[in-house]
Amino acid sequence: MEFLRPATWQEAVAAKAEHPSAVPIAGGTDVMVEINFDHRRPEHLLDLGRIPELSEFDTDSGSGTVRLGASVPYSRIMEHLRTQAPGLALASHTVASPQIRNRGGVGGNLGTASPAGDAHPALLAGGAEVEAVSVRGTRLIPIDDFYVGVKRNALAPDELIRAVRLKTATGPQQFSKVGTRNAMVIAVCAFGIALHPEVRQVRTGIGSAAPTPIRARAAEEFLAAALEEAGLWESRAALPPAVARQFATLVSGAANPIDDVRGTASYRRHALGVMARRTLDWTWREYRGAERTESCA
């Protein structure tokens, strides 16, 4: 095995082009488990830990975008991006333990592309783009096209993730996860929702309930239409219970879960419905509350 230690991003991208089978290592919280247990013996480990810009984020409000370096650890996302990327900040807080959150980040979560990765529902709901870079150039992969199979993503062998771009939140976002305890839990299933009032859209993300992280598109479209029809984006009136119920049913129906050691398929479908209803309730209350503070101010 060879340990490659690029000092700059250009060197890292060049190293990946030269050794396409090299395994990037950022926080190491997935890679080292595989190495410790002999599940992986890469010829080259490509350490990304010395590239400062991967651990930086940019919330320049002028661009309306949060550009999150691939290696920014979850603990810093929780702390600093609560306002700009609330869904991802909430999801980050549910990952593992402080020790893991101090090392692991979104680039690694995307690299592993596990259906149970907690960043995915938030990235799907937030409408993220993945900045993939190779010596050939940079492309922005819409998050909807990123997950291509169980633990498979759309990166080419010579590509590295430089950053993730998220629209700065303009409305409430929520994340919810089912597990046996609060810390150190792989999601039985998870759900993210984001209201995008400026474009009158709702986006969602479902984790651990299909071969890849997915959106509940029918539920999104139904809710956006219901809000539009009743003029609720403007009036910010209470949400009719029938709308919340139908939304939950559609979220539950979007899932394609399996039975496994963490839970049965039918439990997952049920739990997703419950999480969908709750998170919608939380986000809608926050949306209504925001109006009140604004008009009071």
């Binding site: 095995m1 190491g28 080292m32 488990v33 410790n36 013996r41 350490d47 020790q99 090392r103 810390a183």
Partner: protein, 158 residues
């Protein structure tokens, strides 16, 4: 490969380190610092917790090469030069927070960092800070007592 970093304030080097080796292995097997414990090697138990550039991490999940040039603090770095126990260590002894002791080094490092960051933690803060450290003996109550005691003593000393 050769790996050089600062551990508990001293420069240390290890030779013939395998590229896939963990920082935990280097500390225990190559640098004679067996305080950090190896239980799960998969980030679940926290018994290998050390500070890397001040931040608590599972040393079993840090590749040795990633520690090159960095600063590592292990449980061996907590006591004073004459072996005087630190406030957190003394509190663990006094509160009876140690049974078999296997989890203790990791908990000490995590608790020490918590109190440095947050000298008056709530119970919720303590639980969260220690949520990555498993103990199979104590039932955690005495560990919580120890951290509260250390916090009270730290406050008293200021």
């Amino acid at each position: 490969m050769r790996v050089t970093f600062t551990v508990n304030g001293r420069q240390a080097s290890a030779d013939d380190v395998w590229e896939g080796e963990s920082l935990l292995y280097v500390l225990r097997e190559r640098l004679g610092l067996p305080g950090s414990k190896n239980a799960c090697e998969q980030g679940e138990c926290g018994s290998c917790t050390v500070r890397l550039d001040g931040v608590p991490v599972c040393s079993c999940l840090v590749a040795a090469g990633q520690a090159q040039g960095r600063e590592v603090t292990t449980v061996e770095g907590l006591a004073g030069p004459e072996g005087e126990l630190s406030t957190v260590q003394q509190a663990f002894v006094d509160a009876g927070a140690v049974q078999c002791g296997f989890c203790t080094p990791g908990l000490l490092v995590a608790a020490d960092e918590l109190l440095e960051r947050n000298p008056e933690p709530s119970d919720g803060d303590i639980r969260e800070a220690l949520s990555g450290n498993l103990c199979r003996c104590t039932g955690y109550e005495k560990i919580l007592d120890a951290v509260r005691l250390a916090a009270a003593r730290t406050e008293g000393a200021v």
